[in-house]
Subunit: 236 residues, 2 copies
């Protein structure tokens, strides 16, 4: 049924960057590095990172302790930026091939945390994921409104807006408590001109971020049936 629907809406493509880049927790992308500090650890950490990135690693909570320096180096040593930039280049080459219709219904979806704006400074305080995710201190960090833009994604965002896409930003952040600071943070980092910021509201408060994402995807698929969004690629 899904494949039939996807055929029908062949031109409907949404980039759920939740999947392309990282989950809202951001931990997922913290497991890479280039220059090893210790060769045995580097070999293990590179394998572990690959397993995580390809979703072959089973449920895990923290980055393995021996990968701390490795992940630190990955995040701030340049490889993470390079990885992002290469994907953004791929995306831009795709964007450049698209001829937008004139009905204003071409849409694009971007995740917020660790896609548009970075929480790397929060994770630095958590030994780059070697310490468990801490929702209290994460909220405290978010409330500062100091998440820096991820430059490659900001460039993509600007290109999309200029090209005429309606850009939707989605986040598991709670609208009631973190709405204003998120809007301001995005604005002061240059994310200006998006169509709508879709946040978690209290009705989703008891849901995990993963469940919220699933609900969101369900609603998006439903919305495809009426002409709100047109340009989609669902990663199901």
């Amino acid at each position: 049924m899904i494949s039939a629907m996807l055929r029908k809406v062949r031109e409907m493509l949404v980039f759920l960057f939740i999947s392309v880049f990282s989950k809202a927790t951001g931990i997922k992308t913290l497991a890479r590095a280039t220059v090893p500090t210790d060769n045995a650890a580097a070999i293990f950490c590179l394998s572990w990172r690959l397993a995580v990135e390809t979703n072959n690693a089973r449920a895990w909570r923290t980055v393995p302790a021996q990968c701390f320096r490795y992940v630190e180096n990955y995040m701030i040593g340049g490889q993470y930026d390079q990885d992002l930039n290469l994907i953004v280049e791929e995306i831009l080459s795709y964007v450049n091939e698209i001829v937008l219709s004139e009905d204003g219904m071409d849409a694009w979806i971007l995740d917020v945390d660790d896609t548009c704006i970075s929480n790397v400074f929060y994770y630095k305080g958590k030994r780059y994921g070697c310490d468990p995710f801490d929702s209290v201190s994460f909220k405290s960090w978010v409330n500062k409104g100091e998440c820096p833009a991820i430059p490659g994604v900001l460039n993509l965002f600007i290109k999309l807006v200029e090209s005429g896409f309606k850009v939707f930003l989605v986040t598991g952040r709670n609208e009631e408590t973190l709405g204003q600071v998120t809007i301001e943070n995005l604005h002061n980092q240059g994310f200006i001109g998006y169509e709508r910021l879709i946040m978690r509201v209290n009705i989703h408060a008891s849901e995990s971020v993963q469940m919220f994402n699933l609900s969101l995807r369900h609603n998006m698929k439903h919305n495809m049936k009426h002409p709100e969004c047109k340009h989609h690629q669902l990663r199901i």
Copy 2:
């Protein structure tokens, strides 16, 4: 519908190692490395490899020329083996949690090329994917029957058979022309005791390997409705 079906057959899990490891062409997994021969190339090749492994890179035919040494080092320098072994450990920890029913319907599916047995020597002659895939010389290589077992996967295979799983091997290789040599190659590398080797027959000859895989998945889902296979995890 798919998710409803999957809920119904919650215990039906198939590991389509086509997805977990590599495609039948094997090229896909040729893009990794650890010890760079040149730092700029290493940074690029590591990013490119990640993009390929996560399916973010768009259609590509050959490994970038500047990544030849990098991929060579990855494949024969130990990191590829380490990557495979880490995933096999993950799988074994999963296998060890499963309590098999006594109805003999617990099944497992493994891909053949570059999952059970390796084509690394073929790819060595193709500059580890920097030269295009060549079906004539690939068939010539396969006809030698000298593909070595991938040790970690052989261990997994043995564990599965010993545990009572019915193990199905699937491959895009043509049954008429490569059936006998494939059976013998698998046997002489220790793959003994599987339930069935499912190969491409002439009816699929005009299909691409990708289309064959799709047909196979469709048929497997259909087969779930009658009690041939029980232990599945479909990666759709």
